[in-house]
Symmetry: C2
Subunit: 419 residues, 2 copies
């Protein structure tokens, strides 16, 4: 069979043209297609509108040989994908009695009668392959049109994803172009985008000339830089090996600022380090308001190393709950490294933990002064006898300052544990 | 001037065709266009690819009279939007010396010399209007082509948003079709999607027949339901008034389960209630791991009512930090309403606050038993002398259980304060 060369993705649904909803199915579809070596040439979103949809299908079929559509397969009048695609491809729609009876059974198993409108979901374009839906009533459809194919998937992710996966293992995989495109994300914190870019430039040049070339894109947000690497090779394993080698080279160039080469979040990386050393951690937060601890406890099994935390917004709370001396606050101010250190030690010793974190700062938008502006955050960490503290100046709004401070606090402990 | 009738949005950038990045600029652009009464007919994403981009521009200009593009205006060879659009519209590109000097000054003000590649950003298609960029080097461009217009905006949101806003107040606003499309989100918690839908159905029918008809869509996720209402009227004020009336009717039908009719998040609603009553709150969290407090402190000014919080993962921490009697944990188990109440009272009294929250549960994926399965969470709240407690059974993964529990805890206090 002719392998596909290029795909387009079409998301159908008027809600996807409003200011509050976005098509995210295409991310999963793209990942699966890329693994097969099929690149996505463009993506389109149209509403539940017959004319726009028909037009988008026609345009896509003129430019790619694989079109993957999601959404618009439901039972209501708004759901027009099935009919419009059949029309564009000049196929009649015929009721498939097996589908109708499967939907009927699904309703009856929940003690309900199938509403008549659901019969629409049993209509199949002549010559189409029916794709079973384990998690919903709408079956998917696969229609070949010469060497081109159109795949219709239901919109809900829990219905779409397993259906897409079984296509990858089956008919889609059989028409893969052969070169697997694999991507890997390397996460970096503690340096700027331009410093990262500068350090990486020689590698970029070298990577481009390799037998399995590595392409790289840099994506920066406040507190985090991601390097997205991709490689195309005859097998997934070959691409993986090339990416593994490349990601080691990134670590050599960027050093400790790389905290993850395998997709793990910073809190997972730190959790694994704490488990490996059998350490327990306790946290005292002021301006981050619980975010450091909430991130730590997002990780399954974190109760093995998180004992307790306190959020001490007021000076009284810092004194009462952590034993921070009032005189220390008086002398240095609540936002200072000595107070951050006293907070870290206060929670560490009270919890009987090995690791303590203290964070105190000004998240904004109010509360800043000329000496201590919004975004100034003092962070301290204690790890079995050694301590570290640093004062940061973060930019951005309140939530961004909170995030950057939580990132810097988790990262400070990570750095103390890896060396 | 002829008003625009329909728009298309085109996002340019190869990273937007990978599995890890999505175009979100279109949400903001859509909102602004809708406010002017301009509907979005479709959205397209293309990579940094001259042919695909040219094709997408041609297709859009054949179907709509306003095309808003974002991205691809940077200084590198990858940034081709300016050139491709000029080519499709048959315009020569001419260097604009004022732009070049503005970019040069921007670099010099930071002690740097303008790299030669940035000259590309000073190229302007003949007849185009230049849109100033307060937050970056790439100016936007506005090109009229007969009655159609193409707007080119830079990709970074902090550059794009102010530029789009000034267009709405200026030239875009002048060609608004006159019927403002305004949307409003009503947020609901504490009931299921189908119960909400059932209660709303009579209103939907009535709304459709009004002089200013109200359209509604329901969007449900774990712990939260959103009703998206939209109205189209001769003025923004007219649409706002119709939506205000409709949102009151929703409150009459759904009652206290509506927590926000004005876009405020639950933590903001609760914060405003606490401020209005001059109450201070303290939180004791176990399975939510700091998330309740982190959400409370996401709100600017929350230091006025958040005093302190503790995260007590271990039983020892519950006993030591909150004074929960060991016998109570022994008798009822750590995940129980009596323990949640003791946690709430422990933190409330220690903080000298008026309001206390206690949350204890099993976030999973491990730690569940037959009697106390994953997702079981006991929540208690104390508000100036009155108390409430309840045991919930949440579904979903760890982060979803954490979110639903934080939502239920904040909502419990809200309900105690509004009645």
């Amino acid at each position: 069979m002719t392998p596909y060369s290029r795909a387009a993705i079409l998301a159908v649904g008027s809600e996807l043209l409003t200011p509050s909803r976005i098509d995210t199915n295409s991310l999963f579809i793209t990942e699966q297609l890329n693994l097969l070596g099929i690149e996505v040439a463009f993506k389109t979103v149209v509403g539940d509108d017959r004319e726009e949809l028909a037009n988008a299908v026609r345009i896509a079929l003129g430019r790619v040989d694989l079109l993957v559509c999601s959404g618009g397969l439901g039972p209501t009048d708004d759901d027009v994908t099935r009919e419009v695609v059949a029309e564009v491809l000049n196929r009649a729609l015929v009721e498939d009695e097996r589908i109708a009876s499967r939907i009927r059974t699904r309703f009856e198993s929940r003690g309900m009668t199938m509403p008549d409108i659901n019969r629409r979901q049993a209509m199949v374009p002549v010559g189409a392959r029916v794709l079973a839906n384990a998690n919903g009533t709408a079956p998917g459809l696969w229609i070949d049109d010469g060497t081109r194919s159109v795949i219709l998937l239901p919109g809900p992710p829990r219905e779409l994803k397993p259906m897409m996966m079984s296509l990858v293992e089956g008919p889609l995989g059989e028409r893969a172009p052969g070169l697997s495109l694999v991507r890997r994300v390397i996460r970096i914190t503690g340096r700027t985008e331009s410093h990262t870019e500068e350090a990486m430039r020689p590698l970029y040049a070298e990577w481009a000339g390799r037998p399995v070339p590595i392409a790289a894109t840099i994506l920066a947000s406040l507190g985090q830089i991601e390097l997205h690497l991709s490689a195309r090779a005859a097998s997934r394993e070959g691409a993986d090996a090339a990416l593994e080698a490349a990601s080691r080279e990134v670590s050599e160039v960027i050093g400790l600022d790389v905290y993850s080469r395998d997709g793990r979040a910073l809190e997972e990386v730190l959790g694994d380090l704490l488990i490996a050393r059998a350490l327990r951690i306790a946290v005292a937060e002021s301006c981050t308001g619980g975010l450091v601890t909430s991130r730590l406890t997002d990780v399954p099994g974190s109760s093995r190393y998180v004992d307790r935390a306190v959020v001490t917004y007021s000076n009284e709370a810092k004194i009462e709950l952590l034993g921070v001396p009032a005189a220390l606050i008086e002398q240095h101010g609540a936002v200072s490294e000595p107070v951050a250190l006293a907070m870290a030690e206060g929670i560490r010793s009270r919890a009987g933990a090995n690791v303590g974190i203290g964070v105190t700062g000004i998240a904004g938008p109010g509360g800043g002064t000329a000496q201590k502006p919004v975004g100034m955050v003092a962070i301290a960490a204690l790890v079995t006898g050694t301590s570290r503290s640093r004062t940061f100046s973060f930019i951005g709004g309140r939530e961004q300052v909170k995030f950057q401070a939580s990132q810097a606090a988790l990262d400070m402990v990570r750095r103390m544990l890896v060396v």
